[in-house]
């Protein structure tokens, strides 16, 4: 019964305190929200850079052209041998007929036929996909070995694109880590100063409560509830900003920068939002705990 009344008084005091210290409460809520928004946005940025890198990686391939005198039978038999390439993921055989057809759709059919005298000058080819971009150079060197692959005349791959992609993803990784580290430091600083401010205004209150015989539990209840509520509201605010903000960014980029495909994974977004909510709640509860602890020893 006493516990129930403690909670009842605690809840009432929490509401009263939230209302009377609304300026401070607002600062705390915004601190928690800002921090969580940036953390969430960084995670989304990292997820997107990984997603984009993966997308581009999937499009990158090594193309090998065979000598025109290689028979169809030998050309098809080569596929088995391509499996020995490190990081081999798959290979598509493009017969010269298909290649010609392909070119015909892009160029004026009559012009090409005239220029070649009606014959097909194109070679058979393989489009090879690898597990990772980084394996591409080794694969090219391996395939260029004419002793191992006498049927292959030419090996082509987008070297520039690969180099740039590797550099870009590495840079993005470093940037994301830097943002996360920076944010955690800023967050610690902000939370610490907010708590210090709270402690400064509440220290007197706690010590008076101790003098009239309040137990630590009784003192903690309203502070704990207050911290919890600040954390939850801050996290919900951050969740809202992330949810609608990401949606807006997704739509904007989809419409304006259509060559960039952003990750559209509701499950991941909801997971991040859930983690932020848990983080905010924990932050609020821990923050209030730290703030009260110092003054509970009187």
């Amino acid at each position: 019964m006493i516990l129930f009344r403690y909670l009842q008084y605690g809840f009432r005091d929490t509401m009263r305190s939230l209302w009377r210290h609304k300026g401070m409460v607002l600062v705390s809520v915004l601190t928690v929200a800002t921090m969580l928004v940036v953390l969430g946005a960084t995670v989304l940025l990292a997820a997107n850079s990984e997603y984009m890198a993966k997308n581009m990686e999937e499009e990158l391939e090594v193309v090998v052209f065979l000598h025109t005198d290689v028979s169809r039978e030998d050309a098809l038999a080569l596929e088995e041998k391509l499996h020995s390439v490190t990081g081999f993921k798959g290979a598509t055989f493009v017969p010269k007929e298909d290649a010609l057809e392909n070119i015909n759709t892009q160029l004026d059919k009559t012009q090409l036929s005239n220029a070649t005298g009606g014959s097909n000058p194109l070679p058979d080819a393989y489009h090879i996909k690898l597990e990772q971009m980084e394996q591409m150079e080794d694969a090219v060197a391996y395939l260029s070995n004419t002793e191992l692959f006498p049927q292959i005349e030419l090996v082509r791959y987008g070297q520039d694109v690969v180099d740039k992609m590797i550099a870009l993803t590495n840079t993005l990784e470093i940037v994301c880590i830097a943002i996360v580290v920076g944010m955690v430091l800023i967050a610690l600083f902000l939370v610490n100063s907010t708590i210090r401010l709270t402690v400064a205004t509440r220290g007197e209150e706690i010590s008076i409560m101790k003098y009239v015989g309040a137990t630590n539990f009784y003192i903690r209840v309203p502070f704990f509830l207050e911290g919890l509520l600040i954390g939850i509201v801050g996290a919900l605010l951050a969740d809202g900003v992330l949810f609608f903000g990401y949606d807006a960014v997704y739509n904007y980029i989809g419409a304006q920068l259509s060559f960039i495909t952003l990750l559209h994974n509701d499950q991941l977004l909801f997971f991040i939002m859930l983690v932020l909510l848990a983080g905010g709640t924990l932050l609020g509860a821990l923050g209030s705990n730290i703030a009260t602890k110092k003054y509970l020893k009187v």
């Binding site: 019964m1 006493i2 009344r5 403690y6 008084y9 009263r16 305190s17 009377r20 210290h21 007197e204 209150e205 008076i208 409560m209 101790k210 003098y211 009239v212 015989g213 309040a214 137990t215 630590n216 009784y218 009187v298």
Partner: protein, 229 residues
């Protein structure tokens, strides 16, 4: 009721707070604690509310040693003591009623009980019409009366007052003393640290005088004789 047995207090920086104090205060007594700044008055009151522990000796309240209280027993012990501070120490964001009420709420009392007790305590200090006022809407004397109401609301056996009239003009101080005397007449033991010679001389209660942590005088109806001021 209160007994200091050979109590000494030395602080970590080597300052002597109290030196071998032996004193007994009976139930219902009104005792003034006088002495210059740094004489040990605050140390005495802080030991009594168990904010400090003595380096040596024992303190008995109602026959029980308060130096052996466990941390979790301290709140319960303090509920039997009313404490009045020189600077009132009211919560600025709570009304007079709320400031007194939370001393009752910590006991887990019902809302009805809280209202009854707080109304009565505020009535005793003459603040029936100031219940909804916040501290900054009250005069110094009124604020101290709220603090007294908070100290007496749970009907404690002992009231410890640390310079309760220190910030008040003589007229207001007299009003506060009248209230404390009334409380004392009803049987509450009062230990009051003060600098105010006028109050001590007028009241003719028992006087304990401290100097450099030592008890140098214990007069049953002493008056404020020392040459400080």
């Amino acid at each position: 009721m209160i007994q200091f047995i050979n109590v000494s207090k030395e602080f970590q920086n080597g300052t002597i707070g109290l030196k071998k104090i032996d004193v007994k205060i009976e139930e219902g007594e009104f005792v003034f604690l006088v002495g210059a700044s740094g004489a040990g008055k605050s140390t005495f009151t802080k030991l009594l509310i168990r904010e400090l522990l003595p380096t040596e000796g024992n303190i008995l309240v109602n026959g029980k040693s308060i130096t052996r209280l466990k941390q979790r027993q301290i709140p319960h012990y303090r509920r039997n003591i009313g404490f009045i501070f020189q600077n009132y120490r009211l919560l600025g964001d709570r009304t007079a009623f709320e400031n007194v009420a939370f001393a009752v709420e910590v006991l887990g009392a019902t809302r009805r009980e809280v209202e009854r007790k707080v109304d009565y305590a505020l009535h005793l200090v003459g603040l029936d019409d100031r219940k909804t006022h916040f501290p900054d809407e009250l005069s110094g004397g009124e604020q101290q009366r709220v603090a007294i109401a908070r100290a007496i609301v749970n009907n404690p056996q002992i009231i410890i007052a640390d310079e309760p009239t220190g910030n008040l003009d003589p007229e207001t101080a007299k009003g506060i003393m009248d209230i404390l005397n009334d409380i004392n007449i009803k049987g509450t033991t009062i230990v009051m640290a003060t600098h105010d010679s006028g109050i001590v001389n007028r009241a003719s209660h028992r006087v304990l005088e401290l100097a450099h942590g030592e008890l140098i005088r214990d007069d049953k109806q002493g008056g404020y004789k020392i040459d400080l001021v």
